[in-house]
């Protein structure tokens, strides 16, 4: 399935590489759009 919510980052437990979590954490730190 694609993204469940618009304009979001997706990660799949025990499937996606750890790097995708780093991307999410960086996006959260950079804060608001």
């Amino acid at each position: 399935a694609g993204c469940l919510t618009p304009n979001s980052y997706t990660y799949r437990i025990n499937s996606s590489p750890s790097k995708e979590l780093s991307d999410i954490n960086r996006m959260i730190r950079q804060g608001c759009v």
């Binding site: 399935a1 993204c3 469940l4 919510t5 618009p6 304009n7 979001s8 980052y9 997706t10 990660y11 799949r12 437990i13 025990n14 499937s15 999410i24 996006m27 959260i28 804060g31 608001c32 759009v33």
Partner: protein, 107 residues
């Protein structure tokens, strides 16, 4: 003559790199099999204690999430809304089984 030499060098190097890539693919298979053996043979011992996790993230509120492989997490890009705090969201959806979330609050 120079071009001919460079061509010969490149062809030889590409063969080496092809060989190197095959070795890497083989080594990846070995280590993935080794990881599967460990997690399957010792499944009763692949756990961490709550205090292990709390010691890694001192002073924070922690949510430990256990979910079936493939469970999808969606993190929308935060939006700043005028005169109200930015909202941060995580949306989790499993298709294979229930999701368990544990609140770990050392303090």
């Amino acid at each position: 003559c120079e071009l001919t030499n460079r061509l010969t060098e490149l062809k030889s190097e590409l063969e080496d790199l092809e060989q190197k890539e095959l070795i890497l693919d083989q080594q990846r298979c070995w280590i993935e099999q080794s990881i599967r053996n460990t997690t399957e043979d010792c499944s009763n011992l692949t756990y961490v204690k709550h205090e292990d996790i709390c010691n890694c993230f001192c002073g924070h509120t922690l949510l430990a999430v256990r979910a079936p492989s493939g469970t999808q997490l969606d993190v929308p890009i935060p939006k700043a809304v005028l005169n109200s705090p930015t909202k941060y969201q995580i949306y989790m959806k499993s298709i294979r089984g229930p999701i368990d979330v544990l609140l770990l609050n050392k303090h």
